[in-house]
């Protein structure tokens, strides 16, 4: 695991951050039942490290209740994007923290019930007044009990009280889209109560997360920032020798590499298992390795102890070519940005080379001790999503289908023939409770085919709908399988003129005429409703060049900063695509 710097490093560093130089910005409120000193500084530095300018607000000492309940509090004036609410067992349990057995079991139950209701009211008040995401911590389960070993025999004892509180809090968070539960108890379990809670620091200044562990805590919380801003990583590119197995297959041979039941072999298998689990939830895996392709593929296909097989890798670059060039080809083939790739390679020279040449790619600092690989991977905060959708869990399968599409494309004589053979079917779905999470997710992370790159949280999407606008998403299927929901458009209805606020396609399905078909659908629908003009916008970014000429290619004409299409003109109808319109 990466060792964190001491808190003084962050406090000093935070003073020299100029947030105006960052394109991406975020406003974060920290609220808590104890001293939060040092947390805001650490958060600012960790955000700056990922090129995010972070403005923080820290609630007055233990004033979170008042600040949340008061409409005019400085918390709401600050208008955060993300708010963290830190709760702790001592504050919540009050005197029952020390004297749980001074009252009866039924009183303990009643106490927890009341506390859960209070927190629930607080959460509701917050979500009514603010559109900020709220991340609330659960409570540390105390390891000490005056009942000692009898604690676990006691009905609704101290530990069970906290368990109950935590489980009710989890339920509340599951029920509200913008509220998330941070497993603070899990954090304390991982690092140890005696490390995270330091009595001296607690007596000295009501510090309930010891100074040395604040950076570790903030590291985990930064995972939420990455998820909210869509900065999560999508793909892990792996080396092979001494990364997925021990030794060098070209020298040690198929039977000589370390993979399997010996201690070294186990470390690689464990690492592969964690990678496979990430793949199963939607993280793409790829290989970039200097090796004889034949030797390496034999291991991947036939070695009895390989966990990851060929079908788990969306892209393989096993050759003697330049690693940076390979990396660019991988990004290109998978249609993802280099900045959404994580690179894992045991060789420090390779790492330095990739890091220098592709600084936007996250090259992980890998320990020389292979026993640390798994730990390093598990402690990364780059793979979090606010919601894991069906598209995420099916992604591995989708990339496999993509490989088959490429084979067809190469065997087709021209693009039109290929598109005809694909049998593309589009299903246009109105936004609803099932599709809103995916719609928001796509607006947050789509960069290339995204005409306006407007980022919307689920709450924003709901607001559009409420205001009578047209929000839809597009599911794309073809003969090889279902790509899932991979397109989104938002049309603002302004009487005789409709404005395309958002129009995006996942990069996986670009270049198949799908974008034209969707636009055609919008135009035809508008025409039926007697709309005269469709207005479109293209807001250029560093990444959305692929759709720069979309409107002009389709036949829109430029008018100031907008693109216009008069609905009196003929609308083109791509003939290789079938539509289904779901109401």
């Amino acid at each position: 695991m990466k060792n964190e710097q001491k808190i003084s490093y962050y406090i000093n560093k935070s003073k020299s951050i100029d947030i105006s130089k960052f394109e991406k910005k975020v406003r974060i409120a920290l609220l808590g039942s104890f001293t939060l000193n040092g947390m805001a500084e650490t958060l600012s530095v960790k955000c700056a490290e990922i090129n995010v300018g972070c403005t923080t607000y820290v609630s007055a000492y233990n004033q979170y209740n008042q600040e949340i309940l008061n409409d005019n509090s400085s918390l709401y004036t600050f208008s955060p994007d993300i708010s963290f609410l830190f709760l702790d067992s001592r504050s919540i349990l009050e005197k029952l923290f020390h004297f749980p057995y001074s009252v009866s079991e039924s009183e303990r139950r009643q106490f927890i019930k009341t506390k859960v209701e209070q927190v629930s009211e607080l959460i509701k008040a917050f979500t009514n007044k603010s559109k900020s995401k709220l991340i609330i911590t659960n409570l540390t389960i105390p390891t000490y009990s005056p009942y000692g070993t009898y604690e676990t025999k006691t009905s609704f004892g101290l530990q069970e009280m906290v368990h109950e509180f935590n489980s009710q809090l989890t339920k509340i968070a599951k029920g509200i889209d913008s509220v998330y539960l941070f497993d603070f108890n899990g954090f304390v379990t991982r690092f140890g109560e005696q490390n995270v809670f330091n009595f001296k620091q607690f007596f000295f200044g009501d510090v309930k997360v010891s100074l040395d562990y604040i950076p570790y805590l903030i590291h985990e919380l930064t995972g939420y920032v990455k998820a909210v801003l869509g900065l999560n990583k999508k793909c892990i590119v792996l080396d092979l020798d001494n990364t997925l197995w021990g030794g060098i297959v070209g020298e040690d041979g198929f039977d000589g590499i370390k993979l399997g039941s010996d201690p070294m072999g186990k470390s690689f298998m464990e690492f592969q298992k964690v990678l496979l689990a990430l793949n199963q939830r939607g993280i793409i895996l790829a290989i970039n390795s200097k090796n004889n392709e034949e030797d390496a593929l034999k291991v991947i296909k036939e070695h009895p102890d390989m966990i990851l097989r060929e079908e788990h890798f969306a892209c393989l670059r096993i050759n003697w070519n330049d690693k940076v060039q390979n990396m660019k080809e991988i990004a290109n083939e998978l249609n993802i940005g280099l900045d959404s790739i994580v690179f894992f390679d045991d060789d420090p020279v390779n790492r330095e080379y990739v890091r220098t040449n592709i600084p936007q790619l996250l090259t992980v600092e890998v320990s020389t001790d292979t026993a640390q690989y798994t730990q390093t991977l598990m402690s990364m905060n780059d793979f979090h999503l606010l919601k894991i959708t069906e598209e995420d869990t099916n992604r591995g399968k989708m990339y496999l289908q993509d490989k088959q599409r490429k084979v067809l494309e190469q065997s087709s004589t021209n693009l039109q023939e290929f598109l005809q053979q694909l049998n593309i079917k589009l299903t246009i779905k109105k936004a609803n409770n099932f599709t809103i999470p995916r719609i928001s997710q796509l607006t947050l992370k789509t960069n290339q085919f995204n005409l306006t790159t407007r980022r919307y949280q689920e709450e924003d999407i709901k607001k559009f709908i409420k205001e009578g606008n047209w929000v839809s998403c597009v599911q794309v299927e073809d003969k090889f399988g279902d790509n899932g929901i991979t397109g989104v458009f938002i049309v603002k209805k302004e009487n005789a003129q409709w404005l395309i606020d958002t129009f995006l396609l996942s990069c996986r399905i670009m270049g198949r005429g799908i974008e034209d078909s969707i636009l055609t659908h919008i135009l035809q629908t508008a025409k039926k409703e007697n709309v005269k003009t469709i207005k479109g916008e293209f807001i250029p970014t560093k990444k959305n060049i692929p759709c720069a000429s979309f409107f002009s290619d389709y036949g829109f004409r430029k008018d100031g900063k907008y693109w216009l299409f008069e609905l009196g003109n003929p609308i083109k109808i791509p003939n290789h695509i079938k539509y289904v319109i779901e109401q």
């Binding site: 001491k6 406090i11 000093n12 001296k200």
Partner: protein
């Protein structure tokens, strides 16, 4: 003689080494407040592998007292 200690104070409290002397404390160092002094002690404990007791922690009103405390814990060179 006192360079390591002064370096820690300087970097933690963001004050030039030339401004630090035995009398330095909350009156002379702007960033010396109840939290930053705790961060400072945390740094010093780590740098010299010592642990101050709570009452010792509360005694520290200036750099001179800090030095005496370090001596008490067997640190001869700081």
């Amino acid at each position: 003689m006192t360079s390591k200690l002064y370096e820690i104070i300087s970097s933690t409290l963001n004050v030039p080494i030339s401004h630090i002397n035995n009398e330095s404390g909350p009156e002379t160092i702007e960033n010396w407040d109840s939290f930053s002094v705790y961060v400072l002690l945390d740094e010093i404990e780590a740098a010299y592998s010592v642990k101050f007791d709570l009452d010792e922690t509360l005694e520290i009103k200036n750099v001179g007292i800090l030095k005496k405390l370090l001596q008490k814990h067997g640190v001869v060179q700081f």
